[in-house]
Each structure stands twice: as C-alpha cells, then as structure tokens.
Amino acid sequence: MDYIYSILTLTGITMIGVMGTYMVTGLTGQFSFGQAAFMAVGGYVSAMLTLKFGLPFPLVALVGSAAAMLTGLLVGMPTVRLRRDYISLVTFGFGEAIISVLNNSAQLTGGAEGLVGIPKRVDLPLVIVSVVCCLFLVACYKNSKYGRQCLALRTDELAARSMGIDVNRMKLVTFLFASAITGYAGVLYAFYSQYLEPGYYNWTVSAEWLIIVFVGGINSLTGAMVSAVILTSLPELLRFASAWRILIYCIIVLLIINFRPNGIFGDWEISRLWKKRKPVQGGLP
C-alpha cells in the first residue's frame, strides 16, 4: 500500500509542478526550461525556515511559495520582453544558476550533500487536497480574462496589443502565478521526502514537465493533468522491463507525439462535459 501511496503522492506533487509549466508554456507560449528551479526555491526556503527557526508548516508553505514567486519576479521582469527561444535559454540558465547557488551555500543548504532532517509534514491526503485546490485555481485562471488574454498573446502578440492587452504584464502575472504554484510543489516535496539535494532540480526535470504538457495537449489543462498521471506512473508500471523501461517510456511518448499531433487531448477540456448542459454557467473550467 505504501508503495502505491508513495507513487500517488509524488505524482500529485508532479501534477502541481506541471501546472506551472502548463501555465507558462500552455497559456502564454513561453518556454520554461527551468521551472524545476522554482520548486527548488520553494522547497529550500520552507525547509530551511523550519530547520533554523522551527516555524510551523502552513506558514513556511506560504513563505516558500512567496519566495518562489519573488524569484519569479526577478527572472520574469527581464525575460517577458524576450522572444521564445531566448526565454528558454534564460530560464534554463536560471535553473542552473539556482543549483549552483545551492551547491555553493553549503553552510546554509548543505550543498551537494543535501539537506537532511526535514520533518515529515506531508502525506497523501494533503497532497490530494492540494492538487484539487491548485487545479481549481489554475482552471479558474485559464477561464478568466487572464487566461483569455494569455491565449490571445500566445498566438499573436501584435494583434493582442492592438486589442489593448498589456502583453508584458500579462506574461509576468502568469509567470509569477506559475512560479508560486511550482514553489508550492517544492514545499510539498521537501516535507514529504524529508531530504533535499540541489542536483534533483536540473533541467531534465523541467524538460520532463514540458514533455508531459505536450503529450497531454498543449491547449488542454485536463490533458496536462492526465498525462502527468500517466507519464509519472508509466515508469513504475514498466518496472518489469528493468533497464529497458525508460526506452519503452520514450517510445510511447514518441508515438503519442507522432500520432496524436495535438497531444492526447487536443484542446478538449473536461469542463465541456458539464458546460454543454448548462451553457450559461461560464464560471468554472
């Protein structure tokens, strides 16, 4: 049972992380190649506050996400003005920079050897509640004026500007929100695994999240979430294949990308199911 629980818990945490990637990449079409770094910020800040000052979990969770958001502000302010590939480069560099800072501040963070002794505060129910809450927030965001403006500027910034949309501000707001959510995922991870190490947050994790978002369908939050579940549990299901499992995993991903060019879900959202019935309700996803 614990095995299943641990998979579910970590999947849930990944889902929250992926929400951040979804917002930045799916909504505004920017390419976040260092999203995992925000997870690191959230995790480390909250864990260190607990270890050094013994602050309670809800408070550090809040501060952790806020810290991630603040870093998001630092990175986001300059980057929103750049073009897509430059953004991926900058976010990538940011991810590497965070890792190097963590490695370098060994007195504070434990450096490469990692940070131990974090109390366990997170369990499956909390993660489930968190996933539901974050999903609600993100879905509402997508479905609000913010989401619409983001999608508009994703296809055509110039036209979006001509509609009066403040493109840079919109990108920044989304980036910040995404950073905070990802930071929260980091908090959950820290207090679940009780151990943090900088090496975990490198660009391959961010790349994996991107893969998840695309496999699910760049236009669909539902898709991103479903594919987060599938792709994080797939390697577990494939354990019987031992060394070959990552190979099989890659092949499955490739097949999906090749044969479902819009991802598994295209732009379908689960909310369509009930929207059809109550057409005016417009509120929720």
Binding site: C140, S144, L151, R161, S162, M163, G164, V167, V280
Partner: protein, 260 residues
C-alpha cells in the same frame, strides 16, 4: 486642447518614418473629424499600412505627432493607444487561433474587465457576472457582423470572408472612437464587396465612430469615403472629395490608371 468637431478627432501631423534607407512615410498629415469616413489610397508600398502602424504605435514615428481627441499619443505603447479608443484590423488577418470565435471578441473587453486576480482564480461571483456580461456583449457584436451562431467555431476553420468579419467584430468590441481598417475588402468577390459596404454603413450609423480605411477596390473607396487621402512614395499626393480625387490626373497616373 481642442476637441471641437472642426479640429478633427484623430489628427496626424508631419509623420515621418524611414526604414534604413527607405523613407516609408514622409511628412504625412491628415485628420479625421468625429463620425467621418476617411479613405487612404495609394500605390503599393506607398506607406499606407505604415501610417496605420504609426497611429497605433506599432512603430514610433521619427518625426510628427498623433493626437486623438486632444490627447497626444505619440510614443505611447501600442496597448495603451488601443485602450484610448483606436481599434484596427490587419491587412493579413490576425486572429487568435487558440481561442474560439466568441473568446476572440471577448478579449476586447478583457483589459477592462472589472475584477482582479483573486476573484479570477477563485471564480468569485463578481468575476462570473462580469464574464457573463462580457460574453453577452461579444455575442451582440458577432450578431451585428453576421456571425451569430458561430461562437464555438475555431477562427482558422472559418472561410476567409468570415474571418475578415470576425476581425471587424473584434475591433468593434473595444468600443473605439476611431477604427482603422486595412484593406478590409481584399479577397471578397464583387457581391461580397457590396454586402461589406452595406455592413460598414450600418455600423457607422449605429456607432457613429470615425472610420479610416485603406483600400484598393475603387467601388469601396468611392462608395464609403467622405474624404480621401492619396499617398505615393510616402508623401501626400492629393486629398479631398472622392470624386475630385478620382479625376485628379496625378492620381490617375500614379494609381488608378486610365479607365477602360
């Protein structure tokens, strides 16, 4: 500051812009009074689209100024200018592909939607009410241009003519004081052109805004405009009453050509 109807609602004075060596617009001035329909014509590459880009802030002019309703807009950011009340359509259609038809129009009111971040992510009643209202408004605009019933379609799946109309609806929805149309009738066949002229007339009657349009189809130009400006090589070649301009020999030589 003057807002009197004689001074013009939209006023561009001495606009200049050069791209490297190419002087795209050179000392071009024009004005449009409230409720006036102004046409801009001229040979290809004369700088007409560039004038629109200067007015809407896509480019900043090297020299000259743009004033809307007494407010100097020169050097403003594109989105700020749009919020001041200048809407536009594009020569090459630019719709938002990730959104459906209704949402495309809704983006026009989103920058002003009266709710904040927190009501958005929590879907508070204020947000829902505001969105409902915005959708309602957007439907009205779609109705107006004849796109009713297509709210859920993807813009890229619409035929070209309807895409043009959607772009128009989207520009209308920002409730502009001035609307700029860049070759709105391109790609329409003659009977569609007729419908289009009627549509513009109707819209103009209803909103009574100022329209500035660029067009090569003479039937549109002659039918719609109250006043014409002719650009050639970035400079003003002629201006005035449509009929007079049409008969201007310089204009005929540079642009229209002899009638068959």
């Amino acid at each position: 500051m003057t807002t009197s109807s004689t001074r013009g609602l939209l006023q561009a004075t001495g606009l200049c812009l050069a791209f490297g060596g190419v002087k795209a617009v050179e000392d071009f001035s024009f004005d449009a009074k409230p409720g006036e329909i102004v046409g801009i014509i001229g040979p290809n590459g004369a700088g007409k689209t560039t004038v629109f880009n200067l007015i809407t802030g896509v480019y900043a002019p090297d020299k000259g100024s743009v004033v809307l309703d007494g407010i100097e807009l020169t050097g403003w950011r594109q989105d700020a200018i749009a919020r001041q009340g200048i809407g536009r359509t594009f020569q090459n259609i630019r719709l938002f592909k990730g959104l459906n038809v209704l949402e495309n129009v809704m983006t026009a009111s989103d920058p002003y939607a009266p709710y904040n971040f927190f009501s958005a992510i929590l879907a508070l009643p204020a947000k829902r009410a505001a969105d409902r209202q915005a959708a309602q408004k957007a439907r009205e605009y779609l109705d107006l241009v004849g796109l009713a019933g297509m709210e859920d379609a993807r813009p890229e799946s619409l035929p070209y003519g309807l895409q043009r109309k959607l772009e128009l609806a989207r520009a209308l929805a920002i409730q502009p004081k001035v609307i700029l149309l860049d070759e709105p009738a391109a790609g329409l066949n003659p009977s569609e052109v007729r419908e289009f002229i009627d549509l513009v007339r109707r819209l103009h009657e209803r909103f009574n805004f100022t329209i500035v349009f660029i067009e090569h189809r003479m039937e549109v130009v002659m039918n719609l405009s109250h006043k014409l400006f002719v650009l050639s090589f970035g400079k003003l070649l002629a201006s005035g009453e449509p009929e007079a301009v049409r008969r201007n020999p310089e204009v005929i030589e540079a642009y229209i050509g002899e009638e068959e």
